[in-house]
């Protein structure tokens, strides 16, 4: 007997893909913004802070609707991106990844920012007085110290990507094989009479993936701690 239908496996694979790309795109942008917020002082810093947190504060359907307005077929940004890069977000898996990435962004920024603020600038200054250039200071001193925070950010972003529902269904709707991630497939199963079993199976898979991702991150963080400690 088949444990999951092909369509459900599709949802699982799609969720992994969406969460992966959401995390990949969040990572550099999130660390950059975290740096700017932690170290920078410039007019509009507070405004940037609020903007970054908006997806956390707004109802997900609002975020999804704003994405639809901006990146939809009628949206200005959507048209520009299609024209320049040939990328379409509306009703595509790329849109699901975008929605997840936007929703995950504040988690990444918060985690990275905490660890950046915990870095003692004197250590960086010490490295600089010993002749290290600024990029070299970042790579050899700052980065190793903030890596655990970035890892936490990645785990949170991936988790958000796996679980995002409201913004996704509002922005890219539920299209089997294209935008139907695990949460959307579970929602559909629950909306269908007699779909409880399917919903439960998908939920168990979701939990399994989450447990696996957590175990992986624990392992990475242990290795990281060992390396930093041993260096």
């Amino acid at each position: 007997m088949e444990w999951l239908t092909p369509e459900e496996w599709q949802a699982v694979a799609l969720s992994l893909r969406v969460a992966f790309w959401a995390t990949v795109f969040c990572l550099p942008a999130g660390v950059f913004v975290a740096f700017v917020l932690a170290r920078g002082s410039f007019p509009g810093r507070q405004a940037l802070n609020v903007l970054v947190h908006l997806p956390l504060i707004m109802p997900p359907v609002v975020t999804g609707y704003l994405l639809l307005i901006a990146f939809g077929p009628q949206g200005g940004l959507g048209a520009v991106l299609k024209e320049v890069f040939g990328v379409t977000f509306a009703f595509r898996w790329t849109g699901a990844a975008l929605a997840s990435g936007v929703m995950a962004f504040p988690f990444m920024v918060r985690a990275a920012r905490l660890s950046i603020e915990a870095v003692d600038p004197k250590l960086e200054q010490a490295a600089a007085t010993l002749g290290a250039s600024r990029p070299w200071v970042f790579v050899t001193v700052t980065l190793p110290m903030i890596l655990p925070g970035i890892l936490v950010g990645c785990v949170l972003a991936f988790a958000k990507g796996m679980g995002e529902f409201g913004a996704t269904i509002t922005f890219v709707s539920n299209i089997p094989g294209e935008t139907q991630t695990i949460p959307l497939a579970i929602d559909l199963a629950l909306e269908t009479p007699g779909g409880e079993g399917r919903a439960l199976r998908l939920a168990l898979i979701s939990i399994g993936i989450a447990a696996g991702a957590l175990a992986l991150s624990e392992w990475v963080s242990r290795r990281m701690a060992a390396r930093i400690g041993g260096a």
Binding site: I169, S173, N174, L190, E191, P193
Partner: protein, 262 residues
């Protein structure tokens, strides 16, 4: 603290929390009724409920969502007093589970299914076997409610199947959580076309009807209403009667709903 005492204090705290967040026991608010209704009834019920309140002094709380979501909540003990579904299947299921006061069930309304477009200049089309929907859509999508779960989507899929159009257009269908969300996709221009109820199309200025699905192409669209078994206050009886009144029927008729016998 002994186990029993601890359990008791946990239960007390839980009860307090429930009261604080609004789950007051039903007996305390006998004149409040909660109506769970299909999202396609949003506008009409928001018009009818205040009139009913003004006439009777009862309070009506409306919970509007896809029929399937509401039915699932009632199955799990949601404090609904009246349920108005956009199809019979979910109503049958609740009735079979003994969750309805079966004697109060009746078909309240009928509706029709239409193809709507965002662009008001879109010429009218006829829905039959020769209609080339993918060509009509081009690169765009066809917005529908969840085609295997939400009534409006189920009816729409059945109608497209009836004309042999489903298989070709299926990859281009964007499924929304409920019929109003599908309507919003068309209204915002995110999708050029969509399939919604005639009444939804009438309620939204930013879409225009380009075709009407023949009634025979899908199962009859009926809105059954019934009292939920757990609650039978006089206010519920009053509300059910009020839905059948001339005044309510006028609101329904103006919005484009039909009488179920039609």
């Amino acid at each position: 603290m002994s186990g029993v005492a601890f359990l008791r204090s946990v239960m007390r705290a839980t009860a307090l929390a429930l009261i604080l967040i609004g789950f007051t026991p039903k007996t305390a608010v006998a004149d409040d009724i909660t109506v769970f209704a299909a999202s396609s009834l949003t506008d009409v019920l928001q018009e009818i409920a205040p009139r009913f309140e003004a006439q009777t002094g009862h309070d009506v709380r409306l919970s509007l969502a896809g029929s399937s979501k509401l039915a699932r909540q009632i199955q799990n003990g949601a404090p609904a007093d009246v349920f108005i579904s956009a199809n019979s299947d979910w109503m049958d299921r609740l009735e079979k589970d003994g969750l309805l006061d079966a004697g109060t069930r009746r078909n309240l309304l009928g509706n029709a299914l239409v193809l709507v477009a965002h662009d008001p200049e879109t010429p009218a089309v006829t829905i039959d076997r020769s209609l080339d929907l993918p060509a009509l859509l081009g690169e765009g999508r066809l917005a529908m409610a969840l085609v295997d779960a939400v009534p409006a989507g189920v009816y729409g899929k059945a109608a497209l199947r009836y004309f042999g159009l489903w298989d070709d257009v299926a990859p281009q269908v964007a499924q929304a959580a409920n019929v109003r969300a599908a309507l919003a996709f068309v209204a915002s221009g995110a999708t050029p076309f969509g399939i919604v109820y005639k009444t939804d199309a009438q309620a939204e200025d930013d879409v225009s009807i380009v075709a009407r699905f023949p009634a025979g192409s899908h199962p009859p669209i009926l809105y059954p209403v019934a009292a939920v078994a757990a609650a039978k206050t006089p206010a519920v009886t009053d509300f059910l009667a009020y839905l059948g009144s001339v005044e309510s029927q006028e609101v329904f008729g103006k919005a484009g709903f039909t009488r179920p016998a039609d």
